[in-house]
Amino acid sequence: MSHPTPKVDFQWVNTDYTNRVVADLGALDKGGAVLVEAPPGAGKSSLTVSVSKALADADSKLRLPIVTQTNEQADDLVASLLKRHPDLPVTRLVGGAGGSNAMRTLAAANPDLVISSKHDDPAVKGTQVVVATARKWEFVRSGQQQSGLIQGYDLALIDEAYQMRSDALLGIATMFDRLMCVGDPGQLDPFTTIDDALWKGLEYAPSRTAMGTLSAFHPDLTPHQLPLSWRLPPSAAGIVSRAFYPYTGFSAGTDATQRSLALGAGGGAPEDDALDRAAAEGWAYVELPEKLSVRTDAEVATQLARLVRRLLDRGADVVDELDATGRKLEAKDVAVVVAHNDQVHAVRFALSQLSLDPDSLVVSTANKVQGREYEVVLVWHPLAGRRDATAFHLEAGRMCVMLSRHRQACIVVGRAGADRLLAEFPDSDPIFLDEPEKFPDGWEANSLVLDHLAGFKV
């Protein structure tokens, strides 16, 4: 990606895109949308925050609804809004169960933050930005419909729009004349456990992604592409861009000299090769011998736990563009990402066997770490020890989330034979008429990733 200025910084890109988006929003007709696609760590939240602020500044009477997909995302967004603009009047609209502890702590520090479950509360009406989940907005719309009085909004912002299901957008869109949708198209698609064959091929199929429906009916929408990832180091941006964003592409916003992970003294331990390689090159692939195993493969879990243990024992200094003097790596900077819930348990068990508190770091599934970032990420390869390669295990979004959470280094643990499994396993999923191809293709993305990892085998 070329860029007009030789020396770009985060602030420059953010301001530039904020101006472009605000200008586009101003020119937007009723029933129109501005889309912003962002690769991992491209400053999506910052853009949402600064666009909200710019809109609020431009119109003191504005009430801007922001739609998130989960309560955690809403809480995070409110926290970043207030961190950057403590003077901005914000409401966190919550469900009947009340606000989370995080919100209560935030409200203690920001007395102007309104936390309410009632959309028509005068206190809520006094704020400029109202943040709630899509589900909550659906209840707001439903309540207004029942009282026969829909108070529409001119414009709403949808955060993480690519994780939204089409029926969720259907549930709220009658309230909003125009939309700004921000999201990462490379992440995991929303899903349903109900058989959706009945609606396959329909543009408005409720199980499709909201953005899929929106662009099917409004093919003229051309998204803005955020060009740089501020999270992924140069060592990772290349492969993640190639495998998961082949058409749009992106690069790292930092250069290799700005980041470093300096490990403490090592040598002697079997894990040191992998750690040293990851620290030096950004990647390491630990390949256990080929074997068909159960999903909760204890050997993979133990290998992951040993790597974590050794990493924390050796310790490391983390240097990056935000903190050039460096700081000590802590357990909370480390995450282990797996495909299945029971693998979370297996890794946590393995960690506690090595006298590590499993709660001191993050062990989670790909679905739950979307939007999060860590310094060092360890990945349980989804194809390790399997004898089939189902659509679930090949889903490009899952692999993309796993490989794009780290700022410094990523260590993947797998089993030999995954390449053969990919080559030999036939795709037996049914094909539906009019159903758009999933893109990028999971099989191809996984092959590219395996090729890449082969270069970092220890």
């Binding site: 009723k30 029933g31 949308a33 919550v94 009947g96 169960a97 009340g98 606000g99 989370s100 502890n101 919100m103 209560r104 479950s117 659906e138 209840f139 719309r141 439903s142 309540g143 419909q145 029942q146 089409s166 029926d167 957008l169 259907l170 549930g171 869109a173 009658t174 939309l179 349903t192 456990t193 109900i194 058989d195 959706d196 009945l198 609606w199 329909l202 543009e203 408005y204 199929a205 409720p206 199980s207 909201a210 429906t213 929106l214 009916f217 409004h218 819930n341 029971d342 979370v344 348990h345 068990f349 506690s352 499993p358 709660d359």
Partner: protein, 517 residues
């Protein structure tokens, strides 16, 4: 597959005999369900060679089409079946009036039909293919058929759509229901053969494996016949066609008799097997929430019955955006409710969840019943009893997950902390009910990580938003009601009929769902 399922499969494989997967039966069985088995000419969408049906195991009816590709011949058979299906369903269309909660009256169905078929393939054949092919006949100049056939198309279409509702019992496929209740030593794909499944459950005189091989080669319970069997049929079908062309009634009658004999023999086995499957299930005690789910089936059938008062209920060619979204939400919610209901009804299903690590199970080590906390959204502290357990098995639930006490579903809590040996559960809901039970140290308790949404659901939107339709047709879409199909030439629902469709699951929070008089 959970550990317990693996274990049961291994046990069944070793014993050459199916083993029970549940302690109770989780579907309603009507006193006299209509059993339907059918063979369709392979390669054709809805061209039945024969349909055998009835409520009495000893006295099935059989309709046969010797050459189902001939329309007259095909509809001779279909019309007879349709008439009988309509006659079976008709009594359930009677509505009764009952008082409505909060004043007024409403009309509800007094019962609902139950149609049972041998396997999933027959269910989809009968509902989505045959039913769909009949429901638009006579409209817009298409081949006209007797009223009863159109009615049957409508009923089958209702059954086909309702079959998507998790836990429904109006349209059952025996392979599906039996597999939910029994584990065999074969794969799920092989369990789709009802004959093989029954061999596992009932046992066979000689070697099971030899019998399974025979079954695979010789018995297929529709709707696609065994190829060998169909090859034997082919000369007769051809002879019927020759007879038709040469106007040779005797030749046709002879050919038809030959086809009838073959179809009768094949379908008689399938019909008997389906009845046998029902008997096996009937011998199992029903679970506690089965009547509730059947009551819901009857209630939902009431919407169809209500529409039937003013003529044959019509079905849109496709769901429009509003209905598709409402249905997905309804079916997803029903799937969650069903999972919870079954687990609380059936200790074997709860044990399976425990083996999957979805419970915290152990002996109480301490209880702090007077613990007070300020809950989110509250100003004052309320009681949140803490129960500490010494775990007897592994759990994969993490701190923060919502659980319910297995002894009383209402008692809800949150896992406060969990490690390899112990866990603390904070009881957040129904503390008064909590007090009525004895929570003394040493007592073994179990909390399960199930938490279906029990509150009211939001209403569906009253119009299709701009995001879900084409921008250029805004004005057009403003005039045409969603899904009335006026523009694509398809026979479809009128806006008035569409407005009549009761979309269950999108009712007002306080209103009682139902058809208001």
């Amino acid at each position: 597959m959970s550990l317990i399922d693996l274990l049961l499969t291994a046990e069944a494989a070793r014993a050459h005999r199916a083993v029970r997967r549940t302690a109770y039966r989780h579907v309603h069985l009507a006193d006299r369900p209509l059993i339907v088995v059918a063979y369709n000419l392979s390669g054709e969408a809805a061209a039945p060679l024969g349909i055998m049906y009835g409520t009495d195991p000893a006295a099935p009816k059989l309709v046969v089409a010797a050459e189902p590709r001939n329309r007259e011949c095909r509809f001779d058979a279909i019309n007879k079946f349709a008439e009988d299906l309509d006659a079976y369903v008709r009594p359930f269309l009677t509505l009764k009036t009952e008082p409505k909660r909060g004043g007024g009256f409403r009309q509800v169905a007094s019962g609902a039909p139950q149609v049972i078929v041998p396997n999933r393939a027959t269910r989809s054949y009968l509902g989505s293919r045959l039913g769909r092919s009949l429901r638009y006949l006579g409209l817009a100049g298409t081949h006209d058929v007797p009223e009863a056939t159109k009615w049957a198309g409508s009923h089958l279409s209702w059954l086909a759509e309702h079959a998507n509702l998790p836990g429904q019992a109006n349209f059952l496929a025996m392979t599906e229901t039996l597999s939910e209740h029994f584990a065999t030593g074969q794969s799920a794909l092989e369990d789709e053969s009802l004959a093989a499944l029954l061999a596992w459950i009932d046992g066979v005189a000689g070697d099971l494996l030899a019998e399974l091989e025979r079954v695979e080669l010789e018995e297929a319970f529709g709707p696609v016949p065994n190829p060998k069997w169909e090859a034997k049929l082919e000369p007769h079908v051809k002879r019927w066609g020759d007879g038709l062309r040469t106007d040779d009634a005797a030749k046709m009658a002879a050919a038809e008799a030959a086809v009838r004999t073959a179809v009768d023999a094949a379908l008689t086995d399938a019909y008997a097997a389906t009845h046998r499957a029902v008997d096996i299930l009937r011998a199992i005690d029903p679970a506690a929430t089965v009547p509730d789910r059947w009551a819901n089936d009857v209630y939902e059938w009431g919407a169809h019955a209500k529409r039937a008062k003013t003529g044959i209920p019509m079905f849109a060619r496709r769901h429009d955006a509003l209905r598709a979204a409402a249905m997905l939400q309804r079916w997803s919610a029903a799937a969650d409710e069903l999972e919870t209901a079954r687990a609380f009804d059936d200790p074997m299903i709860m044990a399976r969840l425990d083996a999957e690590g979805r419970c915290v199970t152990g002996a109480i080590t301490s209880v702090d019943a007077q613990n007070k906390e300020v809950k989110p959204g509250n100003q004052r502290a309320t009681r949140v009893p803490l129960v500490e357990l010494s775990l007897t098995g592994a759990t994969r639930l993490l701190a923060g997950e919502v659980v319910r006490w297995v002894g009383d579903k209402k008692i809800r809590g949150v896992v406060r902390s969990v490690d390899d040996g112990s866990a603390v559960v904070a009881v957040t809901d129904q503390v008064k009910a909590f007090d009525t039970y004895a929570w003394s140290p040493g007592v073994e308790v179990m909390f399960v990580g199930l938490d279906p949404w029990e509150g009211p659901n939001p209403w569906g939107p009253d119009e299709i938003p701009w995001t879900h339709k084409e921008a250029t047709t805004t004005e057009l879409a403003g005039e045409a009601e969603p899904g009335d199909g006026a523009t694509d030439g398809s026979p479809d629902m009128t806006p008035a009929e569409l407005a009549e469709v009761v979309v269950v699951g999108t009712v007002a929070p306080d209103a009682e769902p139902g058809v208001v008089v």
